[in-house]
Assembly symmetry: C2
Homo-oligomer: 279 residues x 2
C-alpha cells in the first residue's frame, strides 16, 4: 500500500541518540519552501518518535528561522527536563547551508505530559455553522501544491473577491474572521501531527483585512493540544472546523489566533501565530 | 540610588560567550518559586543583553520546566539564526540540582527583528473601562510576596467572593474574563522586560471559572510584542490595561489568552499560556 503523502513528508529515520534525518520534498510545497504546517508536524513527529518520550503533546512552539530547501534535513531533539508527569523538549531542524555547514532552519520547544481525567469545560463556544457537504470549496488565491493536500470548505471569511486594497473593517467578528471545514486529501485518520498542520492551514489574516496580497510569512506558531490521542482516533477522517481571527497588525508583524473542533463540537486545539508582512 | 526590585531580580552578569549568571531572590516569590513573569522577563533580558542581538523583541515563548530555587542560576543563550532583519534565539536557564549537576529549570525561544513602519490596525477593540483612579485594588486570594511588587486595580472578573465551587457559566465574556489596570510598585518606566512580566500577572482562569483554589501553575507562555521600544518609553510609568480570558480546560491543562494596552488604548502585547491544574 502506498504511503499517504503526509506520512511520507514527516517520515524520520533515527540517526543516533537525539537525532533524526528526513527529506524535504515538493508534495507540500508553498511559495518559497514547504507549507509551514508540514514543518511543524515534522518537528512534533521527532518528539513523538524519540524513545525517551513521556506522554502526549500538550504544547508546541515552532519558530521558522528560514525557508527549508528541497533535500535532506537533520532534526536534533532532546528532552531538557523530565518530571514525574511532564517532559520539556527542545529541537532544531538543520539543513546544509551555502558554505557546507549545518544551519538551523527551524527551532522548537514542546511539552508532553501524562494526562489524567479532570473537570473540563470550554469558554470558546463552537460556532453555529452549516455542515461541510452543503458548502463550496474554499477559493484559493494562488496555485500552490500544498493546497492539493487538503479538502477545505468555506464557511465564512474566504479569500477576497477582488484584490482592490479596500480595507476590511467592522470589528473582530467581521474584519478578519475565517471559518473553514478541513481535512487531509486524500483522507487520513486525524492524529497529533496532522492536527498540528491543520492549525496552520488558514491564509494570512492580512490578505483578508486589506484585500491585498502583501508578502507574508509565519515566523512563530504555538499550538496547545486539548484533545488526547483517544479523542483524535475517534475523529477518524472526519472534517475539522477551524476558526481564525487577526489580532494586532503593526510595523511588519501581526498575530492571529486559531481554534479547532471536531464535527461533534469538541475542542481539539487552540493556536496562535505571529506573521511577518511587508508594507 | 537604590535599584528597583524588578531590575535587581532580572540582573545578569556576562559569564563568557552566550552565558550569563543571575540570582533568584525572594522579592517576587510566589507559592513554590518566583513569579513566572519575572522568570520570563529574565529570559528576555538575556537576549536583550547579548552582544550579537539584532533589533527588538517580536515573540518570546518560555517553558517552565521546574520551579526555580533561591540562589544562583546560569542562562545559556545563543542566536541560532541571524537573517537580514530577523534573528532567532534559544535559551536555557539552569540551576544546580540535587546531585550537583546543572539542570534546566526554564527553556525559551525568542525572535528579535528590525521593524519598519507599515500599515497597521487592531482587530481586538480596546474595552470601555473606568480610569484606574476610580477603582479598588484587586483583592488577592493569597498573601504572596510578588503581589507587593504590583499595583493592580480591578475592573471586572476579580477573585471570587467565596470559594464555594460554584461553576461560573455564561460564555466567554463572563465565565472567565478579567480586566485589570496594572503597573510596577514602586513605579518604574515600562520596557520589554516589565511588559513581559505584566503578561503573567493574571491569576489562573480556573480559579474564577470554578470558584475553587485548585493547584495550578503555568507550564508555557508565549508573548507577542506589538509595541516597539519607542512606544514603550512613551508609556512611562502609566498603567497598563490587561484582559485575560480562559479557553479550553481539559484533563489537567487549560489555556488562557491575554491582551495588554496602554492608557491611550494602543495595543502593547498579546499573550497566551497553558496552565497545569489538578482535579
Amino acid at each position: 500500500m502506498q504511503q499517504h503523502p503526509f506520512d511520507q513528508a514527516i517520515a524520520l529515520q533515527a540517526d543516533g541518540p537525539d537525532r533524526f534525518t528526513g527529506h524535504c520534498g515538493r508534495s507540500y510545497w508553498n511559495m518559497l519552501g514547504p507549507f509551514g504546517g508540514i514543518s511543524a508536524a515534522t518537528a512534533l513527529q521527532a518528539v513523538l518518535q524519540h524513545p525517551a518520550r513521556l506522554g502526549e503533546p500538550v504544547s508546541l512552539t515552532v519558530n521558522y528561522a528560514s525557508a527549508l530547501v528541497e533535500g535532506p534535513f537533520t532534526v536534533v531533539v532532546r528532552p531538557v527536563r523530565t518530571n514525574r508527569s511532564t517532559q520539556h523538549w527542545m529541537l532544531e531542524l538543520q539543513q546544509q547551508g551555502a558554505h557546507g555547514s549545518l544551519e538551523t532552519a527551524l527551532s522548537a520547544t514542546a511539552l508532553t505530559a501524562l494526562r489524567r481525567p479532570t473537570w473540563g469545560a470550554s469558554d470558546v463556544p463552537f460556532p453555529e455553522v452549516p455542515v461541510p457537504d452543503s458548502l463550496d470549496a474554499l477559493r484559493r488565491a494562488f496555485p500552490l501544491e500544498w493546497f492539493n493536500r487538503y479538502e477545505v470548505m468555506s464557511v465564512c471569511g474566504g479569500i477576497p473577491n477582488a484584490w482592490d486594497g479596500a480595507e476590511h473593517r467592522g470589528g473582530p467578528d467581521t474584519a478578519s474572521l475565517t471559518r473553514i471545514w478541513m481535512r487531509d486529501a486524500p483522507q487520513r485518520p486525524l492524529d497529533f501531527c496532522s492536527l498540528t498542520a491543520l492549525a496552520d492551514v488558514f491564509f494570512p489574516r492580512v490578505f483578508l483585512r486589506r484585500a491585498s496580497r502583501v508578502p507574508a510569512g509565519t515566523v512563530s506558531m504555538t499550538v496547545y493540544f486539548h484533545a488526547g490521542g483517544e479523542l483524535l482516533r475517534e475523529c477518524g477522517t472526519g472534517f475539522v472546523l477551524g476558526q481564525a481571527r487577526g489580532q494586532v497588525y503593526r510595523n511588519g508583524f501581526f498575530d492571529q489566533t486559531a481554534h479547532l473542533w471536531n464535527t461533534a463540537g469538541e475542542p481539539l486545539a487552540t493556536s496562535t501565530q505571529v506573521v511577518y508582512y511587508k508594507e
